[in-house]
Amino acid sequence: MTVVAESFVLPERRGTAGRLSDFFWRHPHVLLTVLLGPPLLWLGIVYLGSLFALLLQSFFSIDEFSGLINYEFTLATYRQLFSEANLDIILRTVSMAALVTLVSALVAFPIAYYAARYARGKWKALFYLAVMLPLWSSYLVKVYAWKLILAKEGILTWFFEKLNVLWLLDAWLALPVVGGNSLSVSYTGTFIVFVYVWMPFMILPIQAALERVPANLVEASSDLGGTPAQTFRHVLFPLALPGIVAGSIFTFSLTLGDYIIPQIVGSSRLFIGQAVYAQQGTAGNIPLAAAFTVVPIVIMGAYLWMAKRMGAFDAL
């Protein structure tokens, strides 16, 4: 056997990069600081900082005569927020967001389940493509496309007509609240577009959660006497719950804050996003706009707290 002539310690790598590697190897926490510092600073100052600055505005008030902001602590803006007209906006938005979230979850679950359990190879690629494809095109284009689809002269009406079930559509549109002159100016239309636009944000987290459920847990439940419905109720649903909650955070908060969809498709009644837009833009009432943005934050906080209480994050 030949004797190895070189020493045990291999020669140092040349240059600054080599010295830097040695330094970072000896001081891993320095590396962590270098990596995490910039994004944390950005998140802390630009992101959270501006958010808190905005929230602070909600405790100021506006002088009704001069239109100038009065920089004194007051709850007057919140009193204004809870006026009947504004409460109406909040209630409308929250109901819409809740309904959109619920229906999104119901539609997304079977799709996500199929993708996580059965789709393999090219079917899986096709699934990702189909779910993500709508995200590639402009959001405005999609919403306007829906306006045309849902319009009185649109393809949907034509379709109902060809199938001789136009009376069904008319009956639906004759209903109070959800109805209207046509789908494109009704709450139903707003709802359909919301569900369509946010669907990928619901499907992907549920699919990720279901993918993490080992297949043999489903078999174990069946083996122990659980019918498919019981397996869903006691095994699949609880284990997919973190994914459903994650997805619902997206659909719920995105619906709460959106101001474009209800403006293009729907009745002329305002949603929170539109109210914020109107208050800070046209009306110049920054404090009231800020107070409106507090509403989704509080609702989401309460929702997450409830989800945690229900044990949605126990399996994480």
């Binding site: 078999e219 174990a220 083996d223 122990l224 006497g225 659980g226």
Partner: protein, 332 residues
């Protein structure tokens, strides 16, 4: 004697792959039955056919005289201990064990009592409040056992349940499983690739290879009298004597098996057979030394007691064995 599980010419094909190929077997009630074989030999598929996770492509399965085809897993009084236990991570240990009773609609108090009894049986009382993630591998294995047994199944299926445990724990669990099976009287069907495990625990063993049963019999028979070359090699690494060697020893069979512990490095005594060769390998195994003797190109392993001296490599030696230890085999 009642037949617990009956396989009548059962096949299960996955596309062109014949995972299980015309298997016939009959497991008696209260028997501890092992299915032994390398991975991909079809033993696990057979277990899954019994559990109902797979349906046979051809053939007929009966469990306690009733046709099993088309019966979903949740309607079979058969429970499985899964290879990696498959405990529900979101449920407490007690709820895991009580799961089978819960889905059958048994009252909360009654199933809590039954689950606690089952946990006590596997020596894990007072663990009920914990989560599966907080338990060690051996403890999880016991929970999986309790979760299956609490349902009082007619047949308990065990899919390599000891595979993930370390040697010491595995030996301890082997004994416990064996005594548990004897005291409960439930039919156990056990899948393993570990021949030592199968030999020490089972009443009967089916040795699988390439989707077929190679040999089915009592552990002693399978070990001492393998009928095929595969079984001789897989179960306890018997020596396989080629046709040429058999001829030289005056045997008429195509091949024969010879256990290493039946061979001695010594000149032949009266009536014994002998061969001469040179020492080609030696390794220390603890209780014995394994010495490989090269007889004209045939390598024959000898298990020699550790107390005996080991001849050096290349030493010419004579090996001897009794004629009755030589077992003729079916294939060459």
């Amino acid at each position: 004697m009642t037949t617990a599980v009956l396989f009548d010419n059962v096949s299960r094909h996955f596309g062109a792959v014949r995972a299980v190929d015309r298997v016939n077997l009959s497991i008696a009630e209260g028997e501890f039955f092992a299915m032994l074989g390398p991975s991909g030999s079809g033993k696990t598929t057979c277990l899954r056919l019994m559990a109902g996770f797979e349906q046979p492509t051809a053939g007929h399965i009966e469990i306690f005289g009733e046709t099993a085809e088309g019966v979903p897993p949740y309607r079979r009084s058969v429970n499985t201990v899964f290879q990696d236990y498959a405990l529900f991570p979101h449920l407490s240990i007690l709820d895991n064990v009580a799961y089978g009773l819960m889905v059958k609609g048994i009252g909360r108090e009654e199933r809590r009592k039954a689950a606690e009894d089952a946990l006590a049986m596997v020596k894990l009382p007072s663990y009920g409040a914990r989560r599966p993630g907080q338990l060690s591998g051996g403890q999880r294995q016991r929970v999986a056992l309790a979760r299956a047994l609490v349902n009082k199944p007619k047949v308990l299926l065990l899919d390599e349940p000891l595979g993930a445990l370390d040697l010491k724990l595995r030996e301890q669990m082997q004994e416990e499983l064996k005594s548990l099976q004897k005291s409960l009287g439930i039919t156990f069907v056990f899948v393993t690739h570990d021949q030592g495990e199968a030999l020490s625990m089972a009443d009967r063993i089916a040795v699988f290879n390439e989707g077929r049963i190679q040999q089915l019999g009592r552990p002693e028979d399978v070990y001492n009298r393998p009928t095929t070359r595969f079984v001789a090699d897989f179960v306890g690494s018997s020596n396989v004597l080629s046709a040429k060697l058999c001829q030289r020893l005056g045997l008429k069979t195509a091949s024969a098996s010879l256990r290493p512990e039946s061979v001695a490095i010594a000149p032949a005594a009266d009536g014994a057979l002998s061969l001469s060769g040179v020492v080609a390998g030696r390794s220390f195994l603890g209780a014995t030394n394994r010495i490989v003797v090269d007889v004209d190109g045939n390598r024959i392993a000898v298990a020699s007691p550790a107390a005996q001296s080991v001849p050096a490599m290349g030493t010419p030696v004579t090996i001897s064995f009794a004629a009755r230890d030589l077992h003729p085999m079916e294939d060459a």
